[in-house]
């Protein structure tokens, strides 16, 4: 299968490479540069190199530390616990359920996933508002109502992310469970292993690679959620649901400190890269 000079053969890669270098690698490199400057949006003709000042400042900034904490809570709650567990539970339940129920549930969950981010944000804003559906349901059940977006904003946006993102885990786990040979499960059943023991000793170990990649992708996806939170709470009230992407946006644009905002972006990229490397290691036999 040798045709032409290697350089000619690689030519079709050029358009993609140019786009990737100019619009993705370029900004990342630029990101590394301006994170070390005091670049601002207004009232300053030149920016100067300030070394690690932006990073030192971040570590002393309560608002930054608050954003880190909220990002952690948001990610653990919605991605690691919510989407992942619910997705696995749905995939497992679907194998036992009747076909119409499976189709219906799958359809509803996937619709929530396919909806544009902003629309999902509005739907959940309406759901969690004081006059919204959740409180109506709680009233009907004679349970206490809350002004969710005010009292528990992180919980509300985390639920929103679970609502929006669970379909992905469900699809990944459905595919993984389909690949477990039926004989193995049946043999365990014959040996008298109950449902939980089969789950713990057979199912989970057999799909552990899917669990790993799914956790990675859920985490990366959740780390970069912006629109959903922006629409629901704008990071508020105050900064009580201001995760890192929203903090970065506020510093760079509302406070006009591009340098500082970019330093935050760089930290976010670094965390993302770390997860990305782990994800590659999980996949390493595939390439």
């Amino acid at each position: 299968m040798r045709r032409g000079h290697p350089a000619v053969r690689a030519l079709p890669l050029a358009p993609a490479l140019v786009l990737l270098l100019l619009f993705l690698a370029g900004p990342i490199a630029y990101c590394v540069w301006i994170a070390f400057t005091d670049l601002q949006l207004t009232g300053q003709a030149h920016s100067s190199f300030t070394g690690l000042a932006n990073f030192r400042r971040a570590l002393r900034d309560d608002a930054f530390l608050n954003a880190v904490r909220l990002t952690l809570v948001f990610t653990v709650l919605s991605a690691l616990v919510g989407q992942n567990t619910l997705g696995l539970a749905l995939a497992a339940l679907m194998r036992r359920a009747s076909k119409p129920v499976r189709t219906l549930t799958g359809g509803v969950v996937i619709t929530a996933w396919v909806l544009p981010e902003v629309v999902a944000g509005f739907l959940l804003y309406a759901f969690f508002r004081r006059e919204g559906t959740l409180n109506a349901v709680l009233d009907w059940l004679h349970l206490p109502r809350q002004n969710w977006l005010f009292t528990l904003p992180v919980l509300a946006v985390s639920f929103a992310n679970v609502w929006r993102g669970t379909a992905f885990s469900m699809l990944v786990y459905s595919a993984a469970l389909d690949e477990i040979p039926a004989e193995i499960t049946e043999a365990a059943e014959v040996d008298g292993a109950g449902g939980w023991r089969r789950l713990w000793h057979i199912t989970l170990p057999m799909i552990r690679r899917s669990i790993g990649t799914n956790l990675m992708l859920n985490t990366l996806q959740t780390l970069s959620v912006f629109g959903l939170i922006w629409v629901m709470t704008r990071g508020g009230p105050g900064s009580r649901s201001q995760t890192l992407p929203l903090f970065m946006y506020e510093q760079a644009f509302q406070n006009s400190m591009i340098g500082y905002g970019t330093a935050v972006a760089l930290l976010l990229l670094l965390v993302g890269s770390l997860f990305s490397v782990v994800y590659l290691r999980l996949l390493r036999t595939e390439v």
């Binding site: 339940l93 544009p116 006059e131 992407p245």
Partner: protein, 275 residues
């Protein structure tokens, strides 16, 4: 699929129905409010079904211009993504090289970077090179951000087309370009469809990219203009917001259904993520 005892099936059905109901409540709100002239924030049976909300939002300002902008942005971005990805996938899939593996690993690495984080430097860069508030700049960035995943998927689909068919064409004197266009791409039609629809759906729903890179109201796509229902126009007309959301969301849902059907209900993207 193993046989299931009736009692277990019932338990599973009930549990799934409970989850489905919880997931459906927010969706029910948008559907019911869109046709309810007196819509509020909670799910309720409409006071009377009417298309007033749709009539109110179907104006150039509110609906047509933003949807047209979305179409231009996402159509352009998708065309660029799919074109570049198909070209790039060809040498990666057809010619073995020492550089393929590192390149694909880099692409896969880029696939999972949080694009949100890049938006501040992209904005700063776009201001410098005068691409800010331009359609083409946004299209280029959309394409670049979608390319890693598109290349990855495209390469996997292309690997599924047997080389022998191409070799036959080559003996008949076809060039590599001809065999790509006439043989490989048609044979990977469903795969091409998946990449196209997936790229389009991702761009159609993306809020942050146009929110950052576009400034003029008349260039805003629907993902950003939908924000105008809040704040800027005073009282929020929830019914109209719902009607607009339905108009804006329907195309991507239809596209998803189309692709899901075409793959026999299977989920091709799963192939890219399962371990």
């Amino acid at each position: 699929m193993p046989r299931t005892r009736p009692s277990r099936r019932l338990a599973a059905d009930l549990a799934l129905l409970a989850v489905a109901a919880a997931f459906a409540l927010p969706l029910a709100w948008v559907v019911l409010s869109a046709v309810d002239p007196g819509a509020g924030l909670r799910v309720k049976i409409p006071d009377g079904i009417g298309l007033d909300n749709f009539r109110a939002v179907l104006t150039p300002d509110i609906t047509y211009t933003p949807l047209l902008n979305s179409l231009l942005l996402c159509g352009g971005g998708t065309a660029l993504t799919v074109g570049c990805a198909a070209l790039a996938a060809y040498p990666l899939s057809r010619y073995p090289s020492r550089l393929n593996r590192p390149f694909l690993l880099t692409v896969l690495f880029a696939t999972s970077l949080p694009v949100t984080a890049v938006m501040v430097p992209v904005y700063a860069l776009f201001v410098r090179v005068n691409l800010i508030d331009t359609l083409q700049g946004t299209v280029f960035f959309f394409a670049a951000s979608q390319l890693p995943f598109a290349i990855w998927l495209m390469k996997n689909f292309m690997d599924g087309v047997p080389k022998e068919l191409e070799e036959a064409a080559w003996t008949d004197g076809a060039s590599a370009a001809q065999s790509l266009v006439r043989i490989v791409l048609p044979l990977m039609g469903p795969g091409l469809g998946v990449v196209t629809v997936f790229s389009f759906v991702m761009m159609w729903g993306n809020f942050f990219v146009p929110f950052m890179l576009l400034l003029s109201p008349d260039r805003m796509p629907a993902s950003v203009s939908v924000n105008d229902f809040f704040g800027n126009r005073g009282m929020v007309a929830y019914g109209q917001l719902a009607a607009f959301s339905v108009l804006y969301s329907t195309p991507v849902i239809l596209l998803y259904v189309l692709v899901a059907r075409r793959l026999g209900g299977g989920f091709a993207l799963g192939g890219a993520v399962k371990g």
